[in-house]
Symmetry: C2
């Protein structure tokens, strides 16, 4: 009965209207646990994907979550904890018994283990270290040593290794033995005596090779690779560009120290995209969950740009103050002020967004600038004329034909300049080897605002007085 009810909720969950279903599944599990129906709960959890089990368990009240986790096999527990959010991981780890945590960490994939370890407080870390095996301890130290945002911080050390002199048949047997521990066995790495990378072979190539052919003759000796101190997005970009399942990571002495798997590369891309979103919106680098962040952290990430833009906008204010006489003589001009300066910023932001993203995906390259610039002029004039036409009648109604002419000319000029600034800034940033994403929205808007004020009132003071 309960089982059937849960299965129905599960299909809702899978249909991605998941949130309400999640809460109801959690309630149902709490009820079943209270009635000691542990077998029922286990059977249900085992019918789910572990990523979904993680979401469900995160919903459970403290105590019940540990009970539910303990119903799973150690292997599933180890994978499960990798799916938790950072805060849930730590909360669960802190409440598990010491030896329970030690055996769980022994079963976790190496990169997730290191990530968890780094988040524990120092007392917990010091309590854990002596309980781990020497190999685990050293692996943890190595993986935790890398700086955030580097390839080292996202790689894992549980990769499959083969000797170059093995035949393809023996290599497959060797991979079979490594299947339990390695993050992937679809790629295997061939290393020499001092761990230098000799080549990479895919399981697919091993399977299709003649049975007696040696690994050394099948392997790719010039594989795409990445270095441990490269920025993490270099790994993500290469995995995507070359359609890889994993990418070998070398240290400064070209020894193999880890791999970045495709799913970890996808997580990196997601982080980088989030960063690009934030950059375009004046939020400073901010390496944590928005849901978990403290007020202070969020304040810090936001205040710098806001204050900077306040001072940027003082120039617009100064522009207005400079034209006070013109304004006092024609107060009806003020009606069009917000509209004109916003239009320059809007058109500019559109151009900037298109360019930032196209440069990021490689759709547009630096040398396309000239061609795109002349196209942008044509588009911006067309946009400006349309927008001028849209306000023409309102111009006549509010201020007469003269004001309408001023507004129309100002609109076309402001939209054109805004669009050209918006399209050029990302290129300029890219040429200066800055991230084009920093050139979007707010910077463009501020520049367009100042220019808008000056252009509008200059045209007005020439034509009206």
């Amino acid at each position: 009965m309960a089982q059937r009810f849960l299965i129905e909720l599960l299909s809702e969950l899978k249909a991605e209207k998941g949130e309400a279903a999640l809460e109801r599944i959690a309630e149902e599990i709490v009820r079943l646990l209270a009635e000691d129906e542990q077998t029922e709960v286990r059977r249900f959890l085992e019918s789910l994907e572990l990523a979904d089990v993680a979401s469900v368990i995160e919903e459970l009240p403290q105590g019940d979550d540990l009970t539910a986790i303990r119903l799973l096999s150690l292997h599933d527990q180890a994978e499960l904890i990798g799916h938790f959010r950072a805060s849930a991981q730590v909360s669960v780890a802190e409440r598990l018994g010491k030896w329970e945590l030690v055996s769980l960490m022994g079963a976790m994939s190496h990169d997730e283990r290191a990530d968890l370890f780094k988040q524990l407080d120092e007392t917990a870390q010091e309590m854990l270290l002596p309980a781990l095996s020497k190999a685990e301890r050293e692996d943890l130290r190595r993986l935790s040593a890398h700086e955030e945002w580097t390839v080292g911080s996202v790689m894992t050390s549980d990769y499959a290794v083969l000797a170059p002199e093995l035949t393809s048949t023996d290599a497959i047997t060797a991979l079979r033995r490594q299947a339990l521990d390695a993050e992937t066995i679809y790629y295997a790495y061939i290393i020499g005596e001092s761990r230098e990378l000799l080549g990479v072979v895919s399981l697919r190539d091993l399977l299709t090779a003649p049975p007696r052919q040696r690994v050394a003759d099948i392997m790719d000796t010039e594989p795409v690779l990445v270095h441990v101190n490269d920025p993490q997005e270099a790994a993500a970009r290469r995995v995507a560009r070359y359609d890889l399942l994993a990418l070998p990571v070398l240290d400064e002495d070209d020894r193999l120290v880890g791999i970045v798997t495709a799913d970890d590369a996808m997580d990196v891309s997601e982080e980088e995209v989030t960063e690009d979103f934030h950059k375009g919106s004046t939020i400073q680098r901010f390496d944590m969950s928005v849901a978990d962040a403290t007020i202070t952290k969020l304040y810090r990430a936001r205040i710098f740009w806001l204050v900077l833009l306040v001072f940027g906008n003082i120039f617009s204010g100064a522009g207005i103050a400079y034209f006070e006489e013109t304004i006092a003589a024609h107060l009806s001009l003020l009606f069009f002020l917000p509209l004109l300066i916003a239009s320059g910023g809007n058109a500019g932001t559109q151009s900037a967004t298109l360019m930032v993203r196209a440069l990021a995906t490689g759709d547009v390259r630096l040398r396309d600038f000239g061609r795109l610039l002349s196209r942008e002029v044509a588009i911006a004039v067309a946009l400006g004329v349309t927008m001028a036409a849209a306000v023409w009648l309102i111009g006549i109604w509010r201020g007469g034909i003269e004001v309408a002419i001023v507004v129309a000319i100002a609109m076309i000029t402001i939209v054109l300049l805004g669009a050209l600034i918006g399209m050029s800034l990302p290129f300029i940033f890219a040429i200066l080897e800055k991230d084009p994403a920093a050139a979007s929205g707010p910077l463009v808007t501020s520049l367009a605002d100042v220019l808008g004020v000056i252009i509008y009132f200059t045209i007005a003071s020439v034509l009206l007085i």
Copy 2:
């Protein structure tokens, strides 16, 4: 000699300062081809990854590009063409001989073949169809029939299939035979008589299973799957959430019709992210390369929102017009107008960006709203007070203590309201089952602008007159 020079350029290319290197490699290849050093060129191209070969060949002048392509094996050519941009694909396909194109398409992966076919003009399509095999023709028709943005438009039909009664050893032999044609052999699909999906098995599970165990006993009978008419982002999200290498696609009658591979899912994510970027920036759905788009296409994608925002800003203008008397009496207030209305928009855009992205990645859920709202109030007040302090002295200098007080109170109120609008809109959109990304930037800015004008001059007219 030439070879060594090319290899040096290659390492530059790999170091991701690629663009200049690309051009020089292309020049070098043109020179070598002019001197009839085809073997040299072939050897160099073969030492590159195909994704890089594609970039190099796209740089070559017409004629030389075909010569270079023809130096590669048919298998490499087929993979190569999938790496070209759409415009380059079509240009090359139109210049190849009919039978050359037919054999190339025969060797391409099914999804890339369908994508290429869809882009050819009708004459070319009609010329090609009779030359293809019946199976290819039907496959093309099936894959081309799906609407854009659906899972069907990104799936491929060259997946590996196994019978449920095979032993694991026989299954591996069967996969070996399918390795040349299948897009991946790391997952295999077990289907029944009417192509209904019975289960999925990974090569890893087959390798680690006892040799005589039957596929039916190893396979996952409740795999994560997707339907052919689901939106393509459903496939991308599931691949990422469940860390899959491929995802089976079923039709309305639950028959297996294709798979979406992880690398195609990554491409979809990239498209979707681009869409989110555009949505946040008033660009309408726009399904092509920015570099290749015509003026008309770009104009259409941009004009709707720009004109809409013009009319939105008329409300701000009307607000100003309503307070004309207050302004005429205190012209110094105008100095602070751009600064105050921009600040509300800036703070609001920050909040919106944080929420849109956090909702998209699942970091924040709908039910977190209440908790986040009270946190946002605290942050916004802190931000507003800091920003008010920043302009305090300027307020005194430009307008005296009274104007400074008006500006400070207005700043705090405007920033608070802007931030609350910016954080609430994405949630409201999500509850209404609209895409939260549409709630960002411009909408928030326009609302904040109008409110800013009204709040500022209301406070001024109360306190100053």
